[in-house]
């Protein structure tokens, strides 16, 4: 797989991706509106000595894309030297193969920082491990507090519909409650990623 100017130009801008979304457009816009950029994040990216290409692999049905891509979008609005291009994962499997999660999973979003000559400076995949861990802990607490939800490992189709709806509502509340932490962790990882490379 060669990543060159011609291939780069097949990617679409962040705004074009938003406009072309066939689902989750409202959720995406809502998440974008709720992003609070850490001044340190903006400062870190603004202080970079050169323009960066930012390649993103995404799909509009993916929850992690809906949650995390708006953070990059907001950052790129603040830092005009970030040139973001989005590539649909399922139409660019050769690119996906290059940045598989743990070498085997086609997890998205993938955010790849490249220099002007398409040399990779670093990449970021899906979501921070700290967020996965925190949410798993919170999920355990929910099940501990609600015996009616049964075992966290049991198939949810065994729950009566009303109980399942309550579980879903609890999980939604938990995600909302951990949103600020998650956004902050994404920014911390992106900052650390770009701070750790010579640009």
């Amino acid at each position: 797989m060669t990543l060159d100017r011609a291939r780069w130009d097949t990617g679409i801008t962040y705004d074009a991706f938003k406009a072309a979304m066939t689902r989750n457009q409202e959720r995406f816009a809502e998440n974008e509106g709720r992003v609070v950029l850490d001044p340190e994040t903006v400062r870190t990216f603004k202080s970079l000595p050169q323009r960066l290409r930012v390649l993103v692999l995404a799909e509009d049905w993916c929850g992690d894309v809906i949650a995390n891509l708006p953070i990059l979008g907001r950052l790129a609005k603040e830092v005009p030297t970030l040139d973001v291009r989005v590539f649909y994962r399922d139409q660019n499997l050769d690119l996906m193969e290059r940045w598989l999660n743990q070498g085997k999973y086609q997890s998205i979003p993938v955010i790849v920082f490249l220099d002007e000559n398409f040399r990779e400076l670093g990449h970021w995949i899906e979501r921070p491990a700290s967020v996965t861990e925190r949410r798993a802990q919170e999920r355990k607490k929910i099940f501990a507090a609600h015996p009616e939800f049964g075992s966290p490992d049991a198939p949810v189709d065994q729950l009566p519909e009303d109980v399942r709806a309550r579980l879903q509502a609890e999980l939604h509340r938990m995600r909302e409650a951990t949103l600020a932490f998650a956004n902050s962790e994404v920014q911390r990882e992106l900052r650390e990623l770009i701070s750790g490379v010579a640009v």
Binding site: V156, D157, Q158
Partner: protein, 88 residues
């Protein structure tokens, strides 16, 4: 002898875009078994789920088996359940 109709539940991760796989399996089961199924319930869920149960018995779990189920294996589970129902 026709067995007692069985119910299939398909729980899929809506956030992961697994609708096509859920619908393909639903269609395959409808074509294969028709009215021998009492219902096919499709449950939108999250967390990378793709579970299939037949009359309450989990016959495929993405977390347990990995990946999506082969249609043939789900059909086989439904057939076995129908056969069991016809012998009680």
């Amino acid at each position: 002898m026709t067995g007692k109709p069985v119910k299939v539940k398909i729980t899929y991760c809506a956030e992961c875009g697994y609708e096509p796989q859920a619908l393909d399996l639903t269609k395959a089961l409808m074509h294969e078994f028709g009215a021998r199924l009492s219902a096919i319930e499709i449950i939108p869920w999250e967390s990378g789920t793709f579970d299939v149960s037949v009359d309450g018995e989990l016959v495929h779990s993405m977390r347990r088996e990995g990946g999506f189920p082969e249609h043939a294996s789900v059909k086989s589970a439904v057939r076995a359940r129908l056969d069991r129902g016809s012998h009680v």
